[in-house]
C-alpha cells in the first residue's frame, strides 16, 4: 500500500466527494422530501429544503396507508423464507461439505449456477401452478418462490463454512459417542454460526426486497409485502411523494442495517476464494 499513500491526496478527496454526491443523491432527496408538508411537494421551482421541516409523515404514513399490514406481510414472508431455507440448506450443505459421494462436484456446480437464473423465466409457470393449487394471494406462494432463488446460495455459503471446520473436531465428537445428527446440531452449527447467520440474513434480505413474485402472485392489498404495497398504494394517482419517501425510509432501515452485517462475507461468497476477508 506504500506507494498509494499520500500522493495527490487533495485530488483523491475531491473525486471521492463527487462520486459520493452521485451515489447518495436519491437518499438525500428521500430525506429532504419526507421531512416536508404535502403542500411543499408540487411547487415551482422545487426547493431543496422544506420551509417547515416536520417528521409527521413518518407517523401518519402508518395509519394513512396501512403500512403496518405491509410490514407484517414482509416480515412473515421474509422469516418464512429464512426458515425454509435453513431446513433445506443445512442438511444439503453438510452433505456437500463433509461426505464423499458420486455427483458431489456436480451438485456444487449446480447450486452455484442456479442462483444465476432469472425469476422471470419461471414466474410464468409458477403462476400457473399456484393458480391451480389455490396459492395465489398466499404468503406461502412467496415463501416457496423466494426459497427457490435463495437456497442455492445459502447452501453454497454454508458449505464453505462447514468445510472450514477441522474434521478432527467432528471425529472427536463421534468418538465421544455423538451420533451424526448430534455432531451436526451440537458441534457443526455452533461453530459455523457466523456462516449460518450470514446465510439467514441473505435469505431474509432477498425476500424483504423481492418485487416480481409479489407483483405476480399477490392481488389482495392485505397480503402485499412492503415493496409491492408502496408501489401500488402509496404511489397511486398523483403520488404523495412525502408519504412514499417516508414509507421507503422506514422500509429500508431493517435491510440496510442487516446488509452492513453481512456485506464482507457476501462479497467473499460471491467472488470466491480469490477474495480474502
Amino acid at each position: 500500500m506504500m506507494a498509494w499513500r499520500n500522493r495527490n491526496k487533495p485530488m483523491t478527496l475531491a473525486i471521492t466527494l463527487v462520486m459520493l454526491v452521485l451515489m447518495l443523491f436519491p437518499f438525500a432527496i428521500m430525506i429532504t422530501t419526507m421531512l416536508r408538508d404535502g403542500t411543499e411537494i408540487y411547487i415551482r421551482p422545487p426547493q431543496w429544503f422544506p420551509d417547515r421541516p416536520t417528521v409527521a409523515n413518518l407517523v401518519n404514513v402508518w395509519s394513512e396507508y396501512n403500512l403496518f399490514t405491509y410490514f407484517e406481510s414482509s416480515m412473515i414472508v421474509a422469516v418464512g423464507t429464512t426458515i425454509l431455507n435453513m431446513l433445506l440448506a443445512i442438511p444439503a450443505a453438510y452433505a456437500v461439505a463433509r461426505l464423499r459421494f458420486p455427483g458431489r462436484s456436480f451438485a456444487l456446480y449446480l447450486f452455484l449456477a442456479i442462483q444465476m437464473f432469472s425469476p422471470v423465466i419461471i414466474v410464468i409457470s409458477l403462476f400457473r401452478i399456484f393458480a391451480r393449487s389455490g396459492l395465489i394471494d398466499s404468503y406461502l406462494s412467496l415463501i416457496l418462490a423466494n426459497t427457490v432463488f435463495t437456497m442455492s446460495f445459502t447452501v453454497w455459503m454454508m458449505t464453505g463454512y462447514f468445510r472450514s471446520i477441522p474434521i478432527e473436531i467432528e471425529e472427536a465428537a463421534r468418538i465421544d459417542g455423538c451420533s451424526r445428527v448430534q455432531t451436526i446440531t451440537r458441534i457443526m452449527l455452533p461453530v459455523a454460526a457466523p456462516g449460518l447467520v450470514t446465510a439467514m440474513i441473505y435469505a431474509f434480505i432477498w425476500a424483504w426486497n423481492e418485487f416480481l413474485f409479489a407483483l405476480s402472485f399477490i392481488k389482495a392489498a392485505e397480503k402485499m409485502p412492503l415493496t409491492l404495497g408502496i408501489y401500488r398504494f402509496v404511489g397511486r394517482w398523483s403520488t404523495q411523494w412525502e408519504m412514499l419517501t417516508a414509507a421507503a425510509f422506514l422500509a429500508l432501515i431493517p435491510v440496510v442495517v442487516l446488509f452492513y452485517i453481512i456485506e464482507r462475507r457476501l462479497v467473499q461468497g460471491l467472488a470466491g476464494g480469490a477474495v480474502k476477508g
Binding site: K9, M23, V96, Y109, F117, I124, Y231, L252, G272
Partner: protein, 298 residues
Amino acid sequence: MTRPSLLRRISAREAQLAYLLLTPAVAFLMVFMFFPILNVFQMSLYETNKIGRLIRFVWFENYINQMKNPEFWEIVLRSAFWTFTGVLVKTILGMVIALLLNVQYRGRKIVRMLFILPWASSVPISAMLWTWVLNHEFGLLNRTLHLIGVANPPIWLGRPISSFVSTMWVDIWIGVPFMALVFLAGMQSIGEDLYESGYMDGVNSWQKFAYITLPGIKHLVIIATLLSALWTFNDFNTIYIMTRGGPAGATDILITGVYKSAFEWLKWSQASVMAVVTFVILTVVAVLYARMYFRAEE
C-alpha cells in the same frame, strides 16, 4: 480382502447418507425450479389461449413467428446493448471507487460504508426514489441542473432515449458498489513488495495501475464482470417500476418482455419463447461464471 471391502461399505453408507440429506433440497428444486422450466419449454411449443392453457402442439411455430418479428430482434439487441454498456460503466466506475478507497485517510471506513448504500438499499425502493428524483417538473435533479446552468434539462422518463439512459443509469448506480468492493478486496490482497519494487523502478501512477494492480486482480475482474452481466441482464425491477418498458417500448429488454407478454398482453406462447431464449443466454453466462469461480478457488 477385508480392508477394501470395509472401505467400500463405509463409502457406500456415506453416499447413502449424503443422498438422504440432499433429498429435501433437490426435491424442492425439482418441483419449483426444474419442473417450471420444463413447463416453459413445453408451453413454447404450443398454441395457448388467454389464460395460458395449452391448445395445440405447433412444433417450432412460435419460435419462427418470433424470429420473423422485428420487435423481438429490437428487444434482443436492446438487451445486449443494455447489458454490455451497463457492465462496462459499472466496471469503470467500480474501479475508480476502488482506487479511491484504496488510499489511506481518516474516515475512509465511513466513506466505504456510504459508497455501499445503493447496493444495501432495496432495488424496487431505489427505483421509486429515482423516479421522483428524475421527475422533470418537480424533481430536484432538474432543479439542480437548472441552477448550474442547464437551461432545458431533459424530460427524463418521458422520451425514449432519455428514459433508456435514465433506467440504465439507475441499474448502473445499483451495481457499482459490488464491483468496487470486489476490486478493492483484490487490490488489498496484492503484496506491498510489488508496489515497492515498482517504486524503486520509478513507475508512474498509470504504469502502477496497468502493470501491478490490474494483473493482480484480473481474475476477480472477470468473475465480477460475469456476475454483474447476469444481474444487469436480469434487472426487471428497475425498468418495470420506472417506465414499465415504455415509452413505446423504448426500455423493454428480454426480461420485461417475458413478463409483459404473459401478464399484460396474455400472449403466453410468445412469453415462453422469450423465456427460453433468456434461459439459454443465462445458462451460458452462469456456466462461465461457475467455471471461473472454481478455477479461482483452486
